[in-house]
Amino acid sequence: MKTPLSWLKDFVDLEGINLEELAHTLTVAGLEVEEIHYIGLPMPSGLQQTKVSGLSWDPEKLVVAEIRDVGPHPNADRLVLCRLYDGQQEHTVLTGAPNLFEYRGQGELKPPLKVAYAKEGAEIYDGHQDGMHKTVLKRTKIRGVDSYSMVCSAKELGISEEHEGIIFLPADTKAGTPLADVLGDAVLTIAITPNIARDANIYGVAREISALTGRKLKPMPTAVKAAGPSIKGKVRIDIQDKELNPRFVLGLIKDVEIKPSPAWVQQRLRLAGMRPINNIVDATNYAMLELGEPLHAFDYDVLVQRAGGKAPTIITRPAKQGETITTLDGVERKLDDFTVLVCDTAGSLSIGGIMGGLESEVTENTRNVLLEGASWNFINVRKTLVAQRMSSEAAYRFSRGVHPAMAPRGVSRGLELMRQWAGGVVNEGLVDKYPKPAKDLQIEISSADARRWLGVALTNKQIGDILKKLGFTIATQGKSLLVTVPDHRMDIETGVVGKADLMEEVARIYGYDNIPATRLADPLPPQHGNPPLELEERVKDLLARMGIQEVMTYRLTSPEEEARRLPPGTPPDDKPYVKLANVISQERTVLRKSLLASVLEIAERNARQRQRIALFEVGPVFHSSEETLPDELQRLVVVLGGQQQPAGWQAGDAAAYDFYAAKGVVAELLAGLGLHGLKYEPGAHPSFHPGKCARVVVGERQLAVFGELHPQVHSQYDLGSHTLQAITLNLDVLGELVPERFDSRPVPQYPPVIEDLALVVDESLPAGQVEAMIAQTGGNLLAGVALFDVFRGDKIGAGKKSLAYQLTYQHPERTLTDDEVAKLRDRIVRRITQELGAQLRA
């Protein structure tokens, strides 16, 4: 909300206040000042705790001047020449301001027009450029006339973005006065969070400033001078649903003269971000900005006419589903039954709390004004705003809740402003229907609450004093305070919630800075760690130690993107996607089902500039389920391709990641987690090469699948020359397998016997089977079996392969004799030759 400093000064004395400090005080108390916009006042330099914008006007270069006459320009119809006095001398100034044209050729103006005059070298905003850009006024020639100064528009002074004419100053300002002394101001832009909706008005902010600084708050301006007869009998109110419209208030002013508002009113409205329209509309807006109660002005005579010459009846009721109304903005709107209409006996007039209709609006010909102030159910206002895609200053306030007590105050204020600015006579009294009066809320609190919630020792008196500053009424009740909530607030509840609400107020005003920081002294809860997370962290560490980079990817994707992980024509699986109901981008329409697809996308992104791809991700995939919420399953995916070690300038080992490198990663990962001897078997998975795919199965459950990417999958990604290996692992299964602990083995004290064993076996015999049999036969004394060579060739014969193992024999308690080793070797060889048809290779 834009809050002009000058307006605040109407309600709280700000004499000598430092604006930066004020902004900071408001910000830490929850009224975040987003920006201070300076209108001519001196600006601070150096550290800016609050963002600053605007201009500081040089008192020599921006002054009040009086235009003494307006003459035609010799060469241009759309320009005029003003003879102007700046307090020292006369100048001739050229301008295209359309609001001066009416004075052209009138000779000496009596009284002269007071304007904002900028001299050469003055810093102003460029009026001719879109947006707000600062510029320094320079001497030029326009249409042959020397120009070194100008009369300013609101935009050029940074008051608003309006640049349709120059602004006029009050008639009693003196030429030569520095402009900053007349118009100088500053506007605080305050972010209004939902809990401080009560402060979306000048008086509300002034109240907060008063509470925070101790400066005295002036009473709310609600007095109205009503010289006319009573409003009684001039209008009736019929509220059909008091839940939706708890209060409706009307006031009447007669014989107004519609014209522009006084210059200072226009200035304030502009600074607050509203456009001046005419004195009646401006009065409704001004009262709303000042007190927070939105008002609506009807042309009373139109209503009387619609009522057939009788006193009109204002009816509020929910719209019928599909009912239409044409609002002020010229849009015909089809309404829902949650929207509330203000009607008369002839039909609908406006959407309650949001926007008026065309027919009964105030026009230039209006003489008598019926002024509405009401209270609306904020939820219905919100729903209507969403359904109608509307917004207005009134709706902004009503949709956050305005207390019904504000309605008569707003109407009185509006009537008084109309009387002052438009003349006319206010009818005495208001018509006030209040079928659902708000209850007075009371909350009991004490210093114990402050200790318990805030950890600060405050006396009941201190608490009471703080709350009084915000308008609460305090009574002592035994050892507690009985606090009555003021009738401008709707954010305070009763009971324990009310206590929390009040503690927030106490803390804000007492100052968060003044509450001492303490360490938790409450008992520490039982500590039990997070085993799944700890496993994930171990997995991540192990993989990183193997030189593999972690990635984190989007969990939102599209079925088309994920389809690339499968060869074309793969039949769909039976797990439907978790689909988004509201899609922001066609690339992100579902939650991912495949972590492999996510990591392959990243491999693709990096493939072009990398000779080495080694990536992993740990994260969830999402499967629809019979339950309300989908299954979220933790997975690991590793993708490997290119060289195992990065290339350097030295010729060296440039081995590429192949199937066995991927298997090595799987084996080391599992070994690192204390899992040994798991069974690898050929696997089948559509993403993988059918001949180069393995899986790790434990009992019934598949722990991991890995292998070379299927060539048809590979070709669906832009991966360059890399052949990719991928590993997918189910972390939920892994979690069940990883042992909590294991027994270590002692380091042998006696020398081992190491010897090689080369075997020739059928090509089709899996090497794993050979190794398993060697290990099993060797028993406890065989400490290690390591395959170190696989050889095929003419010497071996077709359909055969040679497997060379290094065997380590080891006795824990003594040195093995040659004889013992020979026996053991013989037993191993006998068994594998007999049972696996292996031949010992010489």
């Binding site: 910000t27 929850g30 200790r451 968060y512 997070n530 990817t553 990243i602 969830p620 350097g648």
Partner: protein, 350 residues
């Protein structure tokens, strides 16, 4: 006897002239070998009288030891010189790059999450994780966001197809959704007298927002929750200040500003003094000297009650922070989209 002194001086002079190991060997043969003057002199000792012999023998031996020592010294000097010469010829260009190794790194967000979790772990906060896909009830309603509440406007959600109309399914907009799960889980252990809670809740969250350098459709968040019988706003300030001083630096100042979140009351934003400029003002802190770090507050009584904790007896605080923002500030990263794009040229920097 004069003869022995002469032999010694002559031999040492000759040794002085030796320049290399070959000459040294020749010197050894000449001065200490079978035909050397000294050897001859020692052989001739037998010709001396029994009275003269012991003294002459002793002197001859001294000369021999002296020559041998001089030889050793010279040999060591020559060997040292040869080694130096050889080492100086083996000089490498140490400016050539080292052999590249594949260093596996953790994603910067994982690193930040671990730091956050570790700091809070030392204060007794344990990690509690919950689902990405939530119901409106857990993400909003039980956290004191009534339907049509203005605060809901600040959080645009992704909804999932097929949810219940009165309780839609959505992607969580904050990890606060886990607060209720955690409280209910703890409270179930002893509903009459629920145990205290101290947890952090890290996780992925989602917002229906256009992706830009400043905002993403998904982001990580770490929520924290402490519930007990004696937890105050002062504890909130102390705990979060301790965190900031561990995470940034030991002397960093913090500032708490009143704010609004539906699930806490009072609510506070915590700023830390800008660690780039030390509070003097710079582009990172937009010349304010302060950086916004996290939101926090005392758990709202309705939220405590929804979690199974009686707000008349229990109190607590909660906070939430964005690891991406913390990481961006720490490393001055300009574009939030870097995190999920996973370009190796970015990831390799951490």
């Amino acid at each position: 006897m004069e003869n022995l002194q002469a032999i010694r001086e002559q031999a040492l002079a000759a040794l002085n002239a030796v320049q290399d190991e070959v000459a040294l060997e020749q010197w050894k043969v000449a001065q200490l070998g079978r035909n050397a003057a000294l050897t001859q002199a020692m052989k001739n000792l037998g010709q001396l009288s029994a009275e003269e012999r012991p003294l002459a023998g002793k002197q001859a031996n001294e000369v021999k030891l002296a020559l041998e020592a001089a030889f050793e010294e010279k040999r060591a000097a020559l060997e040292g010189a040869r080694l130096r010469a050889s080492l100086s010829s083996e000089k490498l260009d140490v400016t050539l790059p080292g052999r590249s190794l594949a260093l596996g790194r953790l994603h910067p967000i994982t690193q930040t999450l671990r730091r956050i979790n570790a700091i809070f772990a030392q204060m007794g906060f344990q990690v509690y994780r919950s689902r990405d896909v939530e119901t409106d009830e857990y993400n909003f309603l039980l956290l004191n966001f009534p339907p049509n509440h203005p605060a809901r406007e600040m959080q645009d959600s992704f909804y999932v197809e097929g949810g219940a109309p009165d309780n839609p399914t959505l992607l969580r907009t904050h990890t606060s959704a886990g607060q209720i799960h955690a409280m209910r889980e703890y409270a179930a252990k002893d509903p009459k007298n629920p145990p205290p809670i101290r947890i952090v809740l890290p996780g992925m969250c989602y917002r229906f927002e256009q992706v830009s350098a400043r905002s993403e459709v998904q982001f990580t968040q770490v929520e924290g929750l402490a519930v007990g019988e004696n937890i105050t706003f002062g504890d909130l300030k102390g705990t979060l200040t301790d965190f900031a001083q561990r995470f940034f630096n030991a002397n960093v100042r913090t500032r708490f500003r009143a704010s609004h979140f539906p699930f806490t009351e009072p609510s506070a934003e915590m700023d830390v003094e800008c660690f780039v400029c030390g509070g003097a003002g710079c582009s990172v802190c937009k010349h304010s000297g302060w950086l916004e770090i996290l939101g926090s507050g005392m758990v709202h009584p309705n939220v405590l009650r929804n979690g199974g904790y009686d707000p008349e007896k229990y109190s607590g605080f909660a906070f939430g922070m964005g690891p991406e923002r913390l990481t961006m500030l720490r490393y001055r990263i300009e574009d939030i989209r870097y995190f999920w794009r996973n370009d190796m040229r970015f990831l390799e920097q951490f």
